[in-house]
């Protein structure tokens, strides 16, 4: 007998693939199937006929769109993301390094921010209605509604310009190991997770308040348990369940934030590669980076759903 959460996971897995299929169609449609001639678009107005012909042949542009789509998808599944004029070579190896850099920075950010977020959320939830709660709630609301480059400026000014603790730029060789330059990573990692920190803190606060009003908490208190035990042993175990899902679900947010943060701190991650594709009209690069980011976001959403179903039997239907 398959456990019900596994059945749920299987169905969600199928749905993820359907979504992914639609997303690839959208990406391919926007990038490749637009009316303008792709080769002309990439090389500019002054390209010679020969250069255009070479590029068309190289990218297989003379084939019909549906065949190009199937080829692109087939190659991508086998790990070949194509050839990029800007990189002057295969995309896959370069993209793999950039993804590693971005994910490492994101993971570091989560590692630093999530304990802070949970701590603040629990504090606000336990002291709900008080001054500390209002302070935390208002600050987190502001943190949520501001774009990443605003928090980037704020954090750089405080932690780098005024306190001098961290370097203001994360410039490093793309193939350098990011963990060897940890101090350069902290500022972008904090910036990109700041909005998520605010969000997680708010969600945690809400679920702590919910749990603290449950009858079993009153029972624990009436048994004469010290408040510390009530909070840590009885309340938090249940209150933190939704937080896990929220953290997984904010992956898409992280990926969107990277575009700004990597530009601001000049960090060699996947989002900067995407922007290079935008700036140089490099369509294959654009297609490849978007696809990879989409895959990461969708798998994170999938994991969030499965984790939630695993922890909370009520949604498994």
């Amino acid at each position: 007998m398959i456990p019900s959460w596994a059945r749920f996971a299987l169905r969600r897995f199928g749905l993820m693939f359907l979504t992914l299929f639609l997303v690839t169609l959208a990406i391919f449609g926007i990038v490749s199937a637009m009316p303008a001639d792709a080769a002309q678009f990439m090389l500019g107005q002054h390209a010679t006929e020969e250069a255009l012909a070479v590029l068309r042949a190289r990218m297989g542009l003379d084939l019909p769109a549906h065949i190009r789509y199937v080829r692109w998808l087939g190659d991508a599944v086998r790990g070949d993301l194509g050839w990029s004029p800007y990189l002057g070579g295969e995309i896959t190896p370069v993209l793999a390094v950039r993804i590693r850099n971005s994910l490492f920075m994101g993971a570091l950010g989560f590692l630093v921010s999530m304990p802070i977020a949970i701590l603040l959320g629990v504090l606000a939830g336990v002291l709900a209605g008080g001054f500390v709660d209002r302070l935390i709630s208002i600050t987190s609301l502001a943190g949520l509604s501001l774009p990443e480059f605003v928090s980037a400026v704020g954090l750089t000014l405080i932690l780098s310009t005024w306190l001098g603790w961290l370097p203001p730029s994360s410039l490093m060789a793309a193939d350098a190991y990011p963990w060897q330059n940890l101090n350069r990573l902290i500022l972008p990692a904090l910036t990109v997770t700041l909005a998520i920190l605010a969000y997680v803190a708010r969600m945690t606060r809400g679920s702590v308040i919910d749990v603290m009003n449950q009858p079993y908490i009153r029972t624990a208190r009436l048994k004469g348990l010290p408040e510390r035990v009530v909070i840590f042993k009885h309340a938090l175990r249940n209150a933190l369940l939704p937080t896990i899902t929220v953290i997984f679900n904010s992956m898409g947010w992280l990926m969107g934030g990277l575009v700004i943060v990597e530009t601001f701190f000049a960090y060699p991650g996947v989002a900067r590669l995407l922007l290079a594709g935008v700036e140089r009209n490099d369509l294959p690069l654009l297609q490849a980076t978007t696809l990879v980011i989409a895959v990461i976001t969708l798998s994170a959403n999938f994991m969030a759903d499965v984790a939630y179903a695993f922890l909370n039997p009520k949604v498994r239907l």
Binding site: L18, T19, L22, V23, A26, I27, I30, V31, M34, A36, L141, A142, L144, S145, L146, P147, E148, F149, V150, V153, G154, T156, L157, S160, T161, P168, Y199, R202, M203, G206, G252, W253, M255, G256, V259, I260, T263, F264, L274, L275, G277, V278, N281, L286, T290, I293, A294, T297, L298, N301
Partner: protein, 310 residues
């Protein structure tokens, strides 16, 4: 097709008005009524004031800015606030206050148009999908889900790349990105009233689908659409400023707020003012707009909605 639960602000419109009455004290004189509103919604009033100041900036920048936005004064570059330059100068000695004032119009017009277009397109898709239903609804909603699963800036970047960076592309890109989200909200509002008696009555009268959609359904789902528009506008400002920051669609010497921040990045160790001034302008505008939108939502829907449920 089961009916989705309504999002909080997509509740059946109108109910609350009937129950509570639209104006609490119809007998009050206008000034007194305004005073009561201000007392009850202090934060909203402050936010609306700030937003209107920015609107005035956008309307008549030439009368308000103390200096021309692009006048160079290399002798006094990268300075802090002074009697001559109230908020300091940038790396070319241009007055930061004047540049922020002149940049307001670009931000407001771009993001306002984008949000408006997105809301119009999204409403059309949502109306059709919700009212006609069946396999078409199913297909549209799958596509909407797929588009919503991507980070919005990613989709907008793709569109922008293909349309070629310009103001118009930014507007179109943001509008297209917002369409699916609006469509979903409008669709669930339509589903909520689709089976009401007045809709049946109109259909039995022999009215066309177009008539039912525009004359019967649309007037009854105005409030979620207006709320959606106000929320989308403040998000659109974030995206517009982000594109400016990435240098897409705007060029020096245009006094674009995002572009100003990206130029200031290189001088952040020398003079914080160059980065701080545009950043504070964006924050003020966005936060005020979302507070004002919250107030509006409260007034329309009768309940405060948690702003975090994006």
């Amino acid at each position: 097709m089961t009916e989705e639960p309504l999002p909080e602000h997509g509740r059946v419109p109108g109910e609350e008005y009937v129950k509570e009455g639209r104006t609490p004290h119809p007998g009050l004189r206008p000034l007194a009524r305004w005073r009561e509103f201000a007392a009850r919604h202090g934060l909203t009033v402050i936010a609306l004031l700030i937003v209107s100041i920015f609107v005035v900036f956008a309307l008549i920048p030439h009368y308000l800015a103390p200096h021309p936005p692009n006048r160079l004064d290399v002798a006094s570059r990268l300075q802090g606030p002074s009697a001559q330059y109230w908020l300091g100068t940038d790396n070319l000695g241009r007055d930061l206050l004047s540049r922020v004032i002149h940049g307001t119009r670009g931000v407001l017009v771009t993001s306002g148009t984008a949000a408006l277009l997105g809301v119009i397109w999204g409403s059309l898709v949502g109306l059709i999908s919700g009212y006609i239903g069946g396999w078409m609804d199913e297909v549209i909603m799958r596509v909407v889900d797929a588009l919503l699963s991507l980070p919005s800036i990613l989709l907008a970047l793709l569109l922008l790349a293909r349309l070629g960076p310009s103001r118009v592309s930014i507007v179109l890109g943001i509008a297209i990105v917002y369409t699916p989200g609006v469509a979903r909200v409008v669709r669930s509002a339509v589903l909520a009233i689709k089976n009401s008696e007045f809709i049946y009555a109109a259909r039995l009268r022999g009215e066309s689908t177009l008539y039912v959609l525009l004359q019967e359904i649309l007037p009854n789902i105005w409030s979620p659409i207006v709320v959606e528009a106000s929320v989308r506008t403040s998000y659109a400002i974030l995206l517009t400023a982000s594109f400016g920051f990435l240098g897409l669609g705007v060029q020096e010497p245009e006094p674009d707020w995002g572009l100003m921040v990206s130029r200031a990045r290189d001088y952040i160790q020398v003079s914080p003012w160059m980065a701080l001034v545009p950043v504070i302008a964006i924050s003020l505008l966005v936060v005020s707009l979302s507070v004002a939108a919250d107030g509006l939502r409260e007034r329309i829907a009768g309940t405060a909605l948690d702003t975090t449920s994006v």
